[in-house]
Subunit: 377 residues, 2 copies
């Protein structure tokens, strides 16, 4: 196994990229979907189950972990991998995005962002340096620079100010990260839906130099069309030989479209959250198991799936568990959704290797469009 962090760009299929990131903790096959382990756990799943879905890497949230159980505590306990029983690579975000969405009494200035915990009201300060210190204490294999992310739509002035600040924070983050063998720091491109600002951000970050580049400031309220337009002009401005990570995205159709536009990595809470709400992702599209059409349906969710959870349980049983708010419903559907996401990623990787990505995407979308099997009559 390697002692370095490295990315190999293997092949391409009409824009979609096949690659592999090597780390001392294992390989990450790209395009990759990273399940979100917010508070050191992918909600409702045992760590072994997460791996068995095909995940090579999970994501941890700096904001949650710094507040509870605390970064110094996790370091003292042997690091996040040991704590969460996940020996493979972990990416942590910078904490900035969740400070802005979850914390109280936020105050942002050049130095960083101060805030009060949403859990107990305690005061905290997150600077580029402190964010890296926390991520290093956690032991993250891939760390993210602190940035400022604005929602869309926003004024050009706000977008530009946040983008310029994020560049200055990128430089401070890189200095704070220093040299960590086998680990990587990623910069984050901002610039909202403004082409020239995205290009300015990408260029500035490339000049600073990172082992990978994220596209931030998307999946913040804009339509999918806008997201794809931004990717259309942003990814060509990023180095070919570094992984590209689209933060906080998305639904299966978003993943197909973003891979097509040269993205290599994704994370999103959507599959587990949707599972807890009774939605199952399948080759038939999204199936809402709360729907009354399932209550007398003894058929499994998808008997053609290789995932046992799609075969073992009756639709009527899943409907019952979700209606009765039983944990097992959320457990099964979270597993089904993450497994579907990983199957989709594997399908994309195979299709790129065979140089038939567009066909694969079309076939996959066709399956979703056909929809679920007919209800029982």
């Amino acid at each position: 196994m390697t002692t370095d962090f490295a990315f190999e760009f293997k092949s391409e299929s009409n824009g979609a990229r096949l690659g592999e990131i090597s780390t001392p903790r294992g390989e990450i096959r790209t395009p990759a979907f990273m399940p979100v382990g917010t508070a050191a756990t992918v909600k409702g799943m045992y760590p072994d189950q997460v791996r068995e879905t095909g995940a090579d890497i999970i994501l941890g949230n700096t904001y949650h972990l710094m507040l509870r159980p605390g970064a110094e505590r996790v370091a003292h306990l042997g690091g996040l991998h040991k704590f969460a029983n996940w020996s493979r690579p972990i990416l942590t975000d910078s904490g900035g995005f969740q400070v802005m969405s979850l914390a109280k009494l936020r105050k942002l200035d050049e130095k960083g962002v101060s805030f009060k915990s949403h859990i107990d009201g305690s005061k905290h300060m997150l600077t580029p340096e402190r964010s890296i210190e926390i991520q290093t204490l956690l032991g993250a294999d891939i760390q993210m620079q602190l940035d400022e992310c604005v929602a869309l739509p926003s004024t050009r002035e706000d977008i530009q100010r946040a983008m310029e600040l994020s560049i200055r924070w990128a430089e401070r983050s890189k200095n704070a990260f220093g040299t960590q063998p086998g680990r990587a720091l990623f910069g984050i491109v901002q610039g909202g839906d403004q082409e020239d600002l995205r290009l300015r951000s990408a260029q500035a970050l490339t000049e600073i130099g990172f082992k990978g580049y994220a596209v931030g400031g998307l999946a913040v309220g804009e339509p999918q069309e806008t997201m794809f337009e931004v990717l259309d002009y942003t990814t060509p401005a990023l180095p070919q030989d570094r992984p590209r990570y689209l933060m906080g995205v998305g639904k299966p159709d978003d993943l197909l479209g973003a891979v097509k536009r040269g993205i290599d990595m994704f994370d999103c809470v959507h599959p587990t959250r949707a599972g807890r709400h009774g939605h199952a992702y399948t080759k038939y599209g999204v199936i809402n198991l709360k729907n009354a059409r399932h209550k007398d349906d003894a058929r499994p969710l998808d008997e053609t799936s290789s995932n046992p959870n799609c075969q073992i349980y009756q639709r009527a049983y899943l409907h019952h568990l979700i209606r009765a708010n039983e944990m097992l419903g959320a457990m099964i559907l979270s597993q089904i959704n993450l497994a579907y996401y990983q199957t989709l990623m594997q399908g994309m990787r195979d299709a790129i290797a065979a140089d038939r990505f567009d066909d694969f995407a079309a076939e996959t979308r066709e399956g979703w469009a056909k929809g679920d099997i007919p209800p029982l009559s």
Copy 2:
């Protein structure tokens, strides 16, 4: 595999009984603890996990299942075993106990009990005949007569009235049950803490004749001492060659004391409920993982346990999961508790076979009394 329901009383050790119930769906080694699968799921656990803890049989609640998803629906879907993915024996209660504790606007008379659902306020009626009909629709291998259970303390008059009614309902239940090859109907001894009433109930039920006998009306608020006193005079009045089931009991120490007094079967929500609240049952006794002493403790719960969940996870991690209200905390601790209960039952069975039950009980209680390993200094 047998096509009949049969009980073999194998051996005895100073009051404690070793046996085996044979059913077409598998053997039940006694003394047995039955995990409670209230709404067709043992909360927070996959069915495979439940079996892997060593459970031979689970319990389903007629009250919950008749209201949601409904007995006729479960029958139409292939029965409770298929619905809940549990192919081994299932015992269902009569629904009576939970009507009295959960339902609204209960009205009890000679015919049965009418009530409103706690879920949607819909009106229902449970008679001895309807209870058996529901349990048969569910496909339960062991069915329970409808009875009236009064809390303790109660007046002798109330206890006697309920006991006499329960005898009349026992007879009606037996008639309703008819002949169901491979399945069994159990009668329920009532009589509160009144010796003569318990003996009258046991005698009347024995005369009616059942394949097994439950002791009801305990674990309803009385001290453990009272429960043991009642067992001391009740179990000798029951046929030696039929299984005896103590309903709704209990904590590990209750199980030791009741097996000593000739009980063969138990059910209780306690292990999974305690797990959801952060309590772990171990050979060290109960460990409260919410306690701050665990928050920096990297040690596993019990490194001498053969249960991987007791070895893999740090106490600090379990503390964190429970504090953060993460599903995985409830999942792991429910598994740990049910596995501990099954290990305890296996220990009792082995000790009875070796005719050293009293020594085993003393050693086990000694381990609990010693308590947890010392905190980190």
